[in-house]
């Protein structure tokens, strides 16, 4: 049984409970009174970018629409401006809940693979944990080539003048493409992260069992 089918089985017909237990800050979802201030305060024009505004997502969770919520790209569009948290009359930490649902969907492998925020998050994490330093050249190159080789070249050409400016100002080193700089204790970083994963895994297993 995959992780996804295991949790789906455990929380059959009780998606709200699943969110409460598995998602960071998920226990706040039931407090929403559907006033709509969060969506109204959102600076992103959610009608084009967001499929479902926050209070709709909360309603969908209560209605048990597991598939629709977890595969949605909506929560990935949150810009973390915190307007909704500031104005929410029930003090729901909406921004954190959005990130929590997104992270959970990603963990289950249900998040839309090529959603730009998710793609960038993965790229950034891999990039900085590899050497313990962010390699900006590789990071931006990775992002340019997200939608294929041809599009990548196009993106690169479009940003050419910026890149040259950065090279001239000594803010960009083309040699970074080969290896790049590292932190002093690269192995230490890897060991630390390994331990952190371990702790997280055991905590989540305990939660699943409970």
């Amino acid at each position: 049984m995959s992780a996804n089918t295991a949790v789906a089985e455990k929380y059959r017909n009780n998606f709200l409970k699943e969110i409460e237990e598995q998602v960071e800050m998920g226990d706040w979802v039931k407090m929403c009174m559907q006033c709509g201030v969060c969506s109204g305060s959102c600076p992103t024009n959610f009608q084009s970018a967001w499929e479902h505004p926050p209070q709709e997502l909360f309603m969908m969770i209560r209605a048990g629409k597991r598939e629709e919520v977890l595969t949605s790209s909506s929560m990935w569009n949150c810009t973390s401006c915190y307007n909704c948290i500031v104005r929410c009359p029930r003090k729901l930490p909406i921004t954190h809940i959005m990130h929590g649902i997104a992270e959970y969907a990603h963990r289950l492998g249900m998040a839309p693979k090529m959603q730009p925020t998710r793609f960038f998050s993965g790229l950034f994490w891999k990039n900085c944990t590899h050497t313990g330093r962010v390699n900006e050249l590789k990071l931006s190159m990775g992002l340019y080539f997200k939608d294929g080789f041809v599009q990548g070249i196009k993106n690169g050409m479009a940003m050419q003048s910026v890149a040259l400016g950065l090279v001239k100002a000594k803010r960009l080193n083309v040699m970074e493409l080969f290896g790049g700089h590292k932190c002093k204790d690269q192995k230490g970083v890897h060991a630390m992260l390994k331990k952190a994963y371990e702790i997280e895994r055991s905590r989540k297993t305990a939660k699943m069992a409970g």
Partner: protein
């Protein structure tokens, strides 16, 4: 005027609004002596500042008149106006209240002829109209003020206007030498009926109250609709005096909000539903009301009132708490938000926005005996620890007029029981 013989068998009622008047009268009519303390120069409180009240849409003057008649005919109620309780000491059956009485500068000789008002020139803000207008510094607090006696604003004292007012009075009613007094009153029980105050709408930052002239509060809207109000009963925009025909009502402005008032103020939904009647009454042809709401709480029997308003084609309901108000070039307030039925974003301009502000108990921040038990919103609880200090009306909960009167009667009954026990012990 301030000499009173009060004993441990006296009931002290603090606040002379509809609750305080009711509690005082109910107790006095059973033969108890009552001291009724009112901070303003006239009785009636916020009820007297309403244009009409729900559900029957009668004028509050009617209900108040009945109470004033009962009061005039009852020698057991001693009324102190312009008076505030600054402290209470003692325990059940034996309280001493310290009361500060501000000078009215007008004595009992006043016939309310109005000569002093005509004689003076100085104008001051009129709190009866929520400072939307000014009145002369010699004034009658409102048309049906009780006591029906003029008041001089303290700002006038020492000016030539004060002498003009004195000279104009044919009855020797103006006494410019009156001083503030502090008196002590004994009482066996206290009914605390200090009522409520509208929540400070300026604290709800995204709504722009105070920044945008055409965003007003529901209590101010009552004054606009009232014939005695600043506009003579016309609903006009504060910014340019234009007729406001397309009016938005925003519910839960401050209520049910952890950042403002935690509680549901209970009256605001009905108040806005009632106020849509004003819009139709003033502009029967093209008046238009829009109610933005989270959910309509037309408590218990008032559901039919709600249904009638729903059936009115000039009223539309939008299930959404407005997120933000801005102002366009014409000075129209523009409501921004998301309709939770269909999740559509809206940006809708209106002529006027009325914030249905919540009720904040007036007891908040007032230093009544330290042991008073109040809930998280500041409303006085019915708790044995409060001894014989009983909350009544909106000092005890967010209530409409009807329920405030019920609450006041209950408080009066509790106070009567206390002084009855005192009387038995002393006999």
């Amino acid at each position: 005027m301030t000499e009173h013989v009060a004993t441990n068998e006296t009931i002290l009622v603090v606040g002379g609004g509809i609750s305080g008047m009711t509690a005082a009268l109910e107790a006095a009519e059973t033969g108890k002596n009552v001291v009724l303390v009112e901070k303003n120069p006239a009785l009636g409180g916020r009820t007297s500042q309403l244009y009409r009240y729900f559900p029957k849409l009668c004028h509050p003057t009617c209900g108040l008149e009945i109470n004033l008649r009962r009061l005039k005919g009852n020698p057991r109620v001693r009324l102190l106006t312009l008076a505030e309780v600054t402290g209470i000491e003692g325990s059940t059956g034996n309280y001493t209240a310290t009361i500060k009485v501000r000078p009215r500068y007008v004595n009992e000789n006043c016939t309310a002829c109005g000569e002093c008002e005509r004689a003076v020139e100085m104008k001051v803000d009129d709190p009866f109209n929520y400072n939307l207008s000014q009145h002369k510094a010699a004034y009658l607090p409102n048309a049906m003020a009780y006591p029906q006696r003029y008041v001089l604003d303290p700002a006038i004292i020492g000016t030539a206007d004060a002498d003009r007012a004195k000279a104009a009075c044919k009855y020797g009613a103006i006494d410019l030498d009156m001083q503030e007094e502090t008196i002590q009153v004994k009482a066996g029980a206290v009914v605390w009926a200090t009522g409520w105050q509208p929540y400070d709408a300026a604290k709800i930052q995204p709504y722009g109250y105070g920044r945008f002239k055409n965003v007003i509060t529901s209590v101010e809207f009552e004054r606009l609709a009232d014939l005695q109000g600043p506009t003579g009963g016309k609903i006009l925009r504060p910014s340019d005096g234009r007729e406001a025909k397309n009016i938005a009502f925003i519910q839960c402005a401050g209520s049910r909000d952890e950042n403002h008032l935690r509680h549901c103020s209970r009256i605001c939904c009905m108040a806005s539903l009632k106020q849509t009647h004003y819009v139709r009454e003033k502009y029967p042809e093209d008046g238009k009301s829009t109610i933005y709401y989270i959910d309509i709480r037309a408590i218990d029997r008032f559901e039919d009132f709600y249904q009638k308003v729903q059936a009115d084609p000039s009223v539309s309901f939008i299930k959404s708490k407005v997120a933000k108000i801005t102002e366009d070039a014409q000075g129209n307030p523009v409501c921004h938000g998301v309709d939770t039925e269909g999740y559509k974003r809206y940006t809708t301009p209106h002529d006027l926005v009325v914030l249905a502000v919540g009720m904040e108990p007036s007891v908040k921040g007032i230093n009544i005996p330290g042991h008073i038990v109040a809930d998280s919103s500041g409303f006085i609880e019915a708790d044995p620890a409060n001894g014989a200090v009983f909350g009544a009306g909106c000092a005890s909960n967010a209530l409409d007029v009807n329920r405030a009167v019920q609450s006041a009667t209950a408080a009066a009954l509790r106070a009567i029981q206390v002084v009855n026990k005192v009387a038995k012990a002393e006999a």
